[in-house]
């Protein structure tokens, strides 16, 4: 809400300049949004403009419709400075006789409230007018607040809206058919050309102000073009009504029509301010010589406003704020803001809420008023007591941290990507299922929730490649989304060098066994043995990728990303960028991990015997099956079988040499050479029998 500093001073004699005023109000709930110094303009008292003025822009929070008016802000200023607020007159002019609905005999028109729940009050008055431009001072004030001057009559209605916060409308009396104004729900398909020249098609329960024949205005939102005040208008009907906020909000949203009026009504205007607004507008018309009332005020009230009363205690005030606030301060603040606080006992009040404060319904709301005007700067910094040990944190936090540590140690940098991605980016990873789509995505780039965390790390590779980085190692720990629910996933991508480049040479590009090794290390960190199986999803290259399983249950994948998928994400095939990826379901991995603390194995008391064994076998034989054979044949004393070399002695003959380091050890004695030798012979025999192995 913009206010003109000099206008504000009509109602409160603030001693500070605009900047200091803005600073002080910022600490009391009206945040200073902008401050624009302007030259002083013409004033209502015709004083010669001197010096500087300023347009102060306050950020008014959604709960404070009262501060969408100059008087509302002046009331805050008065409370901050402890100064009196001078309300613009007249309060209740003597020449305006209130004609209630039942006996509006003396008025030239009647008002019927057909939708009393949504429009419980409608005040109106007829006036004879001479339409002309409004005086310079009024135009200046309207313009300063961003409202375009139109004519004296329209300007007066806008001026009153800005001043008091009550939106008004003036109808050209000559364009209203009959003398009965009805506030009713629009008929289905009813149309109205609004002031902006657009034809609006309306529907119930949207509200209209109608004459005998048709709608003349969309209630609380915008007037109709036909009954607009023109240069030729000689008689008007002024409207000041109260509209149910949710009704205005729904209508404004449905029509895509947001106006100064709808903004105020949807937040909640003062349900008691209608007659005052009419009176003020009529007084201004007279002051400007633009016209005068020619009939009584018609104040149709279907449901009278009942001011809420709230019981407040001093103990509650201090108890919620945690700071001392003197009883007198509580009373002074509430009074300054227009609340009436009647003492009901020592430190206890019955507080009546003024109509312009629809946000105040509970004692806590009053305590906020007291707290902010007493000053949050007086709050001491204390600590809430700890009454019990905190329950454990989400187990995923510590669990994810394990994966993060391993990945960092393996040289992967941590990435964070948006959870919504392009549909095309999700498609290869969605396993045939439709990904979860957003109804109102910002753009096609953010259309669906990622079914896997891989698209993010693949895009990270693409981004870095495009920025001249050949070697990329990134990982992300995040949520993947599917119809079955959310799951926490670790995804990583590795392309380019397997190790750091070094002057001593030895550079090699990443291959399957690097990514498999990473999977192995993660499994080790969680205390599970991950095994690899050849079935892989289509986004990986079969034969150079694997499904990762723990105890027979698949927990993820690792291997070479399909170059076609990589290419679609901007990683060209041409630069021979093999991208190896892994993705592990951390929930599943953690579930598979053995519960509780691992026990330490005591160090062996008797020496171990180490023997190397190289066997020539078909190169299609998996190392795993040969290793299993050796284990089985080795007996209890064979405690470890490690593959340490793989060698192709005669290239092309389909035979490969696998070398194992075998460790023999007994817990209760030193093994004899003969025993070890015997085991080796048996291992060899079984390997020959089962795999046709030849010892080298």
């Amino acid at each position: 809400m913009k206010v003109l500093y000099s206008w504000l001073r009509d109602y409160v004699s603030v001693p500070d300049g605009p900047a200091e005023l803005g600073r002080r109000l910022s600490l009391r709930g009206l945040a200073l949004e902008g401050l624009e110094p302007v030259a002083a303009g013409p004033a209502p008292d015709d004083a010669v403009p001197v010096g500087d003025d300023a347009v102060i822009d306050f950020d008014v929070t959604a709960n404070r419709p009262d501060c969408l008016s100059v008087v509302g802000i002046a009331r805050e200023v008065a409370a901050v400075y402890g100064l009196p607020l001078r309300m613009p007159g007249p309060e209740a002019p003597g020449h305006l006789r209130t004609a209630r609905m039942a006996g509006a005999d003396a008025a030239s028109f009647t008002v019927t409230l057909d939708a009393p729940d949504l429009c419980p009050r409608f005040a109106g008055a007829a006036a004879g007018v001479r339409v002309a431009p409004s005086p310079a001072w009024m135009q200046h004030r309207l313009q300063a607040l961003g409202v375009r001057p139109i004519s004296n009559v329209v300007d007066v209605t806008n001026y009153v809206m800005l001043e008091l916060g009550q939106p008004m409308h003036a109808f050209d009396h000559a364009r209203l058919a009959g003398d009965a104004i009805v506030v009713r729900q629009a008929r289905p398909g009813e149309t109205l050309v609004t002031l902006d020249g657009k034809t609006r098609t309306l529907a119930p329960p949207q509200l209209v102000v109608a004459d005998r024949d048709r709608a003349a205005a969309i209630g609380g939102v915008m007037g109709g073009l036909d009954s607009e005040v023109k240069d030729t208008t000689s008689r008007i009907v002024l409207e000041a009504a109260w509209w149910r906020p949710r009704s205005i909000r729904a209508t404004s949203k449905a029509l895509g029509l947001k106006t100064e009026a709808s903004t105020r009504f949807e937040r909640g205007a003062d349900p008691t301010g209608q007659a005052r607004a009419i009176a003020r507008a009529l007084a201004l018309l007279e002051i400007l010589g633009a016209g005068a009332a020619d009939g009584p005020l018609v104040d149709a009230v279907a449901i009278p406003h009942v001011a809420p009363a709230i019981a407040l205690t001093h103990a509650h005030v201090e108890g919620l704020l945690g700071m001392p606030v003197p009883v007198e301060a509580v009373e002074r603040i509430l009074h300054a803001l227009g609340f009436s606080a009647d003492a009901t006992g020592p430190g206890a009040w019955r507080v009546t809420v003024p109509g312009w404060r629809p946000d105040v319904t509970r004692p806590e709301d009053l305590i906020e008023e007291v707290g902010r005007h007493h000053g949050f700067e007086h709050l001491p910094a204390t600590f809430p007591p700890v009454l019990q040990a905190p329950p454990p944190s989400d187990p995923r936090i510590a669990r994810d941290a394990v994966a993060r540590r391993v990945m960092l140690a393996l040289g992967f940098s941590e990435a964070i990507s948006f959870a919504f991605i392009e549909a095309a980016a999700a498609e290869p990873f969605a396993a045939g299922a439709a990904p979860i789509a957003l109804a109102n995505p910002l753009s096609e780039t953010f259309a669906v929730m990622r079914p896997s965390v891989l698209p993010g790390v693949v895009d990270a590779v693409s981004h870095n490649r495009r920025h001249g980085r050949r070697d990329v190692r990134v990982f992300e720990i995040a949520t993947a989304f599917a119809a079955a629910g959310e799951r926490r996933s670790l995804a990583a991508a590795w392309t380019g060098a397997a190790g750091g480049d070094h002057w001593s040479g030895g550079r090699r590009d990443v291959d399957f066994f690097d990514i498999a090794g990473a999977v192995e290390q993660i499994g080790r960190a969680y205390g599970v043995a991950a095994t690899l199986a050849p079935d892989v999803p289509p986004y990986l290259v079969a034969g150079r990728a694997a499904a990762v399983a723990v105890d027979g249950a698949t927990v993820g994948v690792c291997g070479l990303l399909d170059p076609a998928v990589a290419e679609r994400r901007g990683i060209p095939r041409a630069d021979a960028a093999d991208v190896f990826v892994l993705e592990l379901a951390l929930d599943a991995l953690a579930t598979a991990a053995p519960p509780g603390a691992t026990r330490v194995t005591p160090l062996p008391r008797f020496p171990a015997v180490v023997r190397d064994l190289a066997l020539l076998v078909d190169d299609t034989l998996s190392a795993q099956s040969l290793r299993d054979t050796i284990r089985k044949a080795g007996g209890d004393s064979l405690i470890s079988v490690e593959l340490f070399d793989r060698f192709d002695p005669k290239k092309g003959d389909g035979k490969v040499s696998l070398a194992f380091r075998l460790t023999f050890q007994a817990p209760d004695r030193t093994l004899l050479d003969d025993e070890v030798q015997h085991s080796l012979v048996r291992i060899h025999q079984v390997a020959v029998a089962e795999h046709g192995a030849v010892r080298r």
Binding site: T61, A62, R362, G371, T382, P391, A419
Partner: protein
Amino acid sequence: MPTLSELVVRIADDDAAFATALAAVDATPAAARATALDALKIAWVGRKSGRIADLMALLPTLPPADRKAFGQQVNALKQRVEQALAEREATVAATRRPAHAVDLTLPGRAPLLGHRHPLSLVREEVQQIFTRLGYQVLEGPEIEDDWHNFEALNMHADHPARDMQDTLYLNEPLHATPHAPWAAASSARARAPQPLTLLRTHTSAMQIRYMEQHDPPVRLVAIGPVYRRDNLDLTHTPMFHQCEGLVVGKGITLAHLKGTLLAMAEALFGAGTDVRFRPSFFPYTEPSAEVDVRCISCAGTGCAVCKHTGWLEILGSGMVHPAVFEAVGYDPAEVTGFAFGMGIERVAMLKWDVGDIRLFYENDLRFLEQFSV
């Protein structure tokens, strides 16, 4: 016979001459510098013909009373010359090494270490701060239902405050159960699962789930990604990370909130950081306050970072609204509570002077590598 004053002038001349000669050596190409340095050394501190020795030779020509003063000045010059020469020699020597030694200046064979994401670093720091203060740290579902994200937080369907947070909705509601700890209705106050329709706009949704299932006292922070329909610009991304704190119990006050946030600010931005509360509005707190920290780049004197206010807004907070307690089945007459919500990105931007929030989501290694493991 020269007088002492004449000789003092000569010492000063020699001093200046040496400085000139030294500068000439420094300007010699690296390959010839050692030779030039040797020549300079002989010319100045050579035992027989050096200029220092020449000066010393004049000592006996002075009257005995002046000799001490002269000797001291020549010695001072000698020390300056020798020190300058020694420094240059050390520099020259460092570029060579004995034949048997490795070149210590070659890069070592450093295994690659990954780099932490800055948001991950801030998140962990915040977790540590609140763990230290006795909070439990929780995560929660990112796809939420209307009740937990809005309704229970006093943001009803026609509440204007819903405009404050533009929400991303799912095309079709999901009927999945949220992650395990929050799936089971372990309390009589927990509601039957509702269809999941939106991406949570704040981690407050998590707090509702927790309160529905646990009796007070409550002392938790909920951390994780949240989503809003904000276009990307320097300070907005449609996904960002939030950390929200909630403390509920008997007699919890706004002053407790201030003490807690002050402790957090000092831990994040250093001792002496000040905080201030500005009254504000959130539907789920009453009273509500925006919290500023004293500008960390100008210490409050005013600069471009703080738009010359001396303060930086870092979070929104307040006392839990009684309507929220009613929604989760707590008795607002029995307990009070405070809550606050802070953007992790905002803290990271302030901490490391990051001017563009989008950098956090590009995963550019040139950016990430500026952060350690």
